[in-house]
Point group: C2
Chain length 473, copies 2
């Protein structure tokens, strides 16, 4: 578990390769024109774009397998692509080659109400599955902000989270089985409609969060739970970032267990509220906590909310604002989900997806502000406080480009060093991908990176699957 | 990801090795006498016993690391040992060599009430942690029947389950971080007090359930949740095994979500009830379901129990028996937990730890009885019906040894083929270890076994860590 793989010399998507891909997936599903290829060269990560040489859109596992056999034979890099909403550049074809888009594999195959399991193809949009489940009284909790456009295959690749991870966990906690195509075209199918499985190493859990670097997921078995009948939220403005962050620990110390607990500083709310033209009460405060409780009994949920309100006021909260009905409640969530997009519209930015032990949030928020303040750079913080997962968006605003380019790397590094010193990690839910890989050695010791390289080599000895991602150069 | 590792030629625990181990752990913690070594040669798997050449009992991670460096240098096999309660022979030193017992690493290092995380050494007995958590209003759900003597390190190695996995999940769902020593003595420390972590591959999740074949766990970070304030159970006798098994699906279809849902056939109850001299009401019925609901509100839990009772009666249940108070309730659980031990006392046996989609339980129960009936062999079934996890104990009783030895392998194979044909797997929570490895190819395709071998090689190129376990010859 030691030395680095020597960089393979990759092949190109030659006419022979393109012909073989057409034979594998049908000519209509192989894209070669520069114009049609263009949208497959980007995701939601900053303004990055790389030109793929060819794009394939297989419909079946057998077709994915055939594509991988072609790629292996010609040593052409393959970048798998799901919804294209990633924030760490996992879907960017940084080495050109083949982009393998799973957008045509988008069927909900089954919602099994006896076993409480959904069986889906990887191109199913997360929200679509959630709505299909809700229609039969079931619940699939992981809900990244992009749930309206991201897909379950991407969620598995990134081990996506979202606000409700605070109570229910992240994607890994719901994956019961996977079907996946290995770089050489072989197919594995670990797990299934099984709530327990101790038959060999957990390949399914290893593939979750592997960012499409080990295998391409072609089918997913997801655990479902009964849909809670009641869901209520509350907004609590705080006079300072730190008092809001400190309020989080107090909520848990009081024995409360919210279904979501979000932190937003003033500018985050403001950008999103203006972007959507939805006013948010309490939006003038320095920071806000958005709490949600769920359950099956109205009185129990109301009691939790009331107790949480008391705790927040004791912690320095200014007020407890209860949205008036489901529409207002959903408005709040819309604003929350729009923050990322709104920040992006506001300024050139770099996002860091820090995660620390929940109780270390006040120290993280304070430290991030100090680091950015010293560098004269703006930063807006928001995120999943219940999980200790804070998104720090460093903003260029009207800073001149030269100063921005000079100062940014140092600021990012300082934020990450602080995060790690607090017992945290440099990504909570967005992954490492292309944009954070250079920072991985700040977070992980060489022994761990070496073990990860050994795993990568074990699955992908030619290094053709999603090259230059996650692991540092 | 293809060919099998050539078998390494292992070294012996020579005097030089023993001397090096004494230097690493202190002479008092290196056991060489045949008599003192003896108990380290067995676990709870059938009557298997293998003699280790030497036993070491390190106290610290640094000592574990030193032991592994000695083992690597001399290529001596190392079998890690936790509580010794395993049921698939994972702790058996089948190649002799060194048994590395973590029994001295048994401190609860912290119960962090702000972050809801326990930090423990691997030798902590599971029940001890549960009691320490309960004392401060917190809950660590995984509860294998052996919770009074198994340890958390063993639970991690086996990804242990237990009755409450039905609602709360298995060990993997609670592991937030691990510290582990690699075969070459290197130390990794993936995760920590983090509810989310997307920083590289999930080494922690890969190590959970790896049966001590990839690394030796030396510290564990576990997620805790608030302790439910109310817990109630109910016993429902059924006139047939199949009607009880079919009742399970109906409970979930009704939108109920029990905190435990156990299945026991008459003989299982009878053996345990006689063993403990605790009478069980309804124990004359062909099969029983033991249901438990938990929550924070008495009225809500009672309502769930009542609704579940109605569903069970509709499904053919004979009666709904509510234990009278916490003592009677705990008595029921004692009987349930004692089944394995009681069966063992009754007869020579072979246990299969089948798991199927919950709705396939009736077909599994019926099929297992048919297979054993045809072979003229007794079988007693019980287990975690809510998870589809059925323990099938095949019993020799008074069958002559020759017939038993002739018929048993075919019966086991037929049970496993049936399980797999129902979408199931050959182990739900006990692991593959030594006793089931020959059956792995019945459950997993060659591509999956090859991927697992590649992972094993990546971590343990010399093959010295827990050799001859999990993967077939």
């Amino acid at each position: 578990v030691a030395e680095e793989t020597p960089r393979s010399s990759f092949g190109k998507a030659t006419p022979a390769v393109v012909e073989a891909l057409r034979a594998a997936c049908g000519p209509a599903h192989v894209i070669t024109s520069a114009e049609e290829r263009r949208p497959y060269g980007k995701d939601e990560t900053e303004d990055l774009w790389f030109d793929p040489e060819v794009v394939v859109r297989p419909r079946t596992t057998a077709e994915v397998s055939a594509v991988m056999r072609v790629a292996t034979e010609h040593r052409v890099p393959v970048t798998p692509r799901a919804g294209g909403t990633g924030l760490s550049g996992g879907a960017l074809p940084v080495r050109g080659g083949i982009v393998l888009s799973i957008d045509r594999m988008n069927a909900i195959l089954e919602i099994d109400r006896e076993n409480l399991v959904a069986v889906v193809e990887p191109g199913v949009v997360t929200q679509k599955l959630q709505e299909a489940c809700e229609a039969v009284g079931l619940y699939y909790p992981p809900d990244p902000a992009s749930r309206g456009s991201c897909t379950l295959g991407g969620n598995v690749a990134e081990n996506a989270g979202g606000p409700h991870a605070a109570k229910y966990g992240v994607t890994k906690d719901f994956v019961l089985g996977l079907e996946a195509v290995l770089p050489d075209g072989g197919v594995v199918r670990p797990g299934g409609k099984l709530l327990k499985n101790r038959t060999g190493y957990s390949l399914a859990q290893l593939l979750v969060g592997s960012e499409g670097t080990l295998a391409i997921v072609t089918k997913i078995w997801l655990k479902l739970i009964p849909l809670p009948r009641v869901r209520r939220c509350m907004l609590v403005p705080f006079p300072s970032l730190e008092s809001a962050a400190a309020g989080v620990s107090r909520i848990y110390r009081a024995g409360l267990y919210p279904s979501a607990l979000e932190f937003m500083e003033r500018n985050a709310i403001r950008f999103a509220s203006e972007h959507l033209r939805i006013p948010v009460p309490g939006g003038d405060a320095e920071a806000l906590l958005l709490l949600e409780f769920d359950g099956n009994r109205e009185d129990a949920v109301e009691a939790d909310l009331e107790r949480a309100g008391e705790v927040c006021l004791e912690a320095g909260g200014i007020d407890c604002l209860l949205p008036d009905g489901p529409t207002k409640q959903e408005d709040l969530w819309k604003v929350r989900r729009a923050i990322g997009e709104a920040v992006k519209k506001t300024s050139v930015y770099k996002e860091e997806d820090t995660v620390v032990p929940r109780a270390a949030l006040p120290a993280l928020v304070r430290g991030v502000k100090e680091i950015c303040g010293k560098a004269g750079i703006s930063v807006v913080c928001y995120g999943h406080a219940g999980d200790g997962n804070l998104h720090c968006n460093v903003l260029r605003m009207d800073m001149d480009e030269k100063a921005w380019n000079e100062r940014l790397p140092g600021v990012v590094e300082e934020i990450f060093r602080l995060t790690v010193s607090l017992g945290g990690m440099i990504s909570g839910e967005h992954g490492i991908g292309w944009s954070q890989r250079r920072y991985l050695p700040l977070a992980l010791p060489p022994e761990e990176i070496a073990a990860m390289r050994a795993i990568k080599r074990a699955f992908d000895p030619l290094g053709i699957l999603n090259p230059d991602k996650m692991l540092p150069e």
